[in-house]
């Protein structure tokens, strides 16, 4: 099995939005829609701190389709337009989609929307057109903070690749398993991962 995914080191993300913007450019995402949003989480008071500045912390969180292991969007799709492919990515076959938008309701992260022009639902494809040719997803290759890494989660995230031919294992500062987070799981089992070392993950208990 293969499960392509992206790991983001949130301690490296500077919130420049290069991932969000480059995704829109390469994938022709309509104005007003996003396949990848960079959210600001915080500032929140640090645990055990005064509750006032400078005892605050803040990080950025890139939210896109999590290419779930057990995707709710696929389960509710009446036509089979939403599918999980053998490479682990979740894709929408636009020729089959009837635009019922049940998938958009069923996704816990609100990453799907109706493309008003094509009248079908779309979302992050994990840059299928690029990764199928051995290239990196655009949001990974354009990340100026070297925070984004792409690879097969089944083979371990140490081997994930980033720009410049580096691998995650050799490039990133040390972290342990308890510092690798995923978005809250509603039974869909998200595949993307986020590394956060010294700040409190605000995405609920793991």
């Amino acid at each position: 099995m293969t499960q392509y995914a992206i790991v983001t080191d949130l301690d490296r993300c500077v919130g420049c939005l290069a991932c969000s913007v480059s995704c829109k450019v390469i994938n022709g995402v309509p104005v007003g829609n996003f396949w990848n949003k960079t959210l600001r989480v915080g500032p929140n008071p640090k645990e055990g701190g005064s509750g006032q500045w400078p005892d605050v912390e803040m990080y950025f969180l890139n939210v896109q389709c999590q290419h779930c292991e057990n995707p709710e969007c696929v389960k509710v799709c009446p036509t089979g337009a939403s599918q999980k492919l053998p490479d682990g990515t979740v894709q929408v076959d636009k020729e089959k989609c009837i635009g019922c938008q049940f998938c958009a309701m069923a996704c816990p992260y609100n990453v799907r929307y109706l493309n008003e022009e094509e009248r079908v639902v779309e979302k992050c494809t994990l840059c299928e057109q690029k990764i199928s040719q051995g290239e990196l997803p655009q949001c990974v290759s354009q990340c100026c903070g070297m925070a984004r890494w792409f690879g097969d989660a089944e083979k371990g995230i140490e081997n994930f690749e980033g720009p410049g031919g580096y691998t995650l294992g050799e490039f990133l500062n040390e972290f342990d398993d308890t510092q690798v987070y995923q978005l809250p799981d509603a039974g869909n089992k998200p595949s993307l991962m986020y590394i956060l070392r010294d700040m409190k993950w605000q995405g609920g208990d793991q």
């Binding site: 709710e72 036509t79 309701m105 109706l114 039974g187």
Partner: protein, 194 residues
């Protein structure tokens, strides 16, 4: 996500239609509401058709439903199956009604009519139970839509019976015997006969 009016109209009208059909089935079980049976059937059918048109308006590419609609884990597919089942039962009901000399249908058919109506409403409501939407993800939602059906259906039937001059003993049937029959699995009290 903004309000999806076609879906709101669809769920309401289908619950209404199924509630009305089930109510007429309950009375038919007791041989009641004979003057109103046909009118009620037509009104229930119209509600179902208008609801169906509303849901088609929701689909952005309805013409593609012929491309491969039928993924069974999908609530929409399950709903469609339940609607087809109800439509088949309703058609058999219509044929039996037309054929009978005294505007009655067999008791077994009335029971099947109630059962398929309840199943349709429950399946339709169930398709909105999604872990991603915690506010909807409760069995209470199924009860709420069933509640819509249990109020809209009998209330509409009473109005139709009043219009048709079918009230009197019939009113007693709807207000007292019908709920009792639904709970107890049917009774044939003389008072329930119209």
């Amino acid at each position: 996500m903004e309000l999806q009016w076609p879906l709101i109209i669809f769920t309401t009208l289908v619950a209404w239609s199924a509630g009305l059909f089930a109510s007429q089935c309950v009375l038919a079980f007791q041989g009641g509401a004979r003057k109103t049976q046909m009118t009620s059937w037509i009104v229930a059918a119209v509600l179902l058709v208008v609801g169906g048109i509303a849901v088609f308006l929701h689909l952005e590419h309805w013409e593609r439903i012929f491309n491969g609609f039928g993924h069974l884990t999908s609530g929409i597919t399950q709903e469609l199956i339940a609607i087809v089942a109800l439509a088949v039962v309703a058609l058999v009901y219509l044929v039996m009604l037309r054929r009978s000399a005294d505007e009655t249908v067999p008791q077994w058919l009335a029971v099947v009519g109630v059962a398929v109506s309840v199943v349709l409403v429950a399946v339709m409501a169930h398709s909105y139970l999604m872990p991603a939407r915690p506010a909807w993800d409760t069995p209470l939602w199924i009860l709420a839509v069933l509640g819509n059906a249990c109020i809209l259906g009998p209330a509409t039937l009473v109005v139709l019976m009043a219009v048709k001059g079918d009230l009197g003993a019939g009113a007693a049937a709807v207000t007292t015997a019908a709920p009792r029959a639904a709970v107890a699995g049917g009774s044939t009290k003389p008072a329930a006969r119209a």
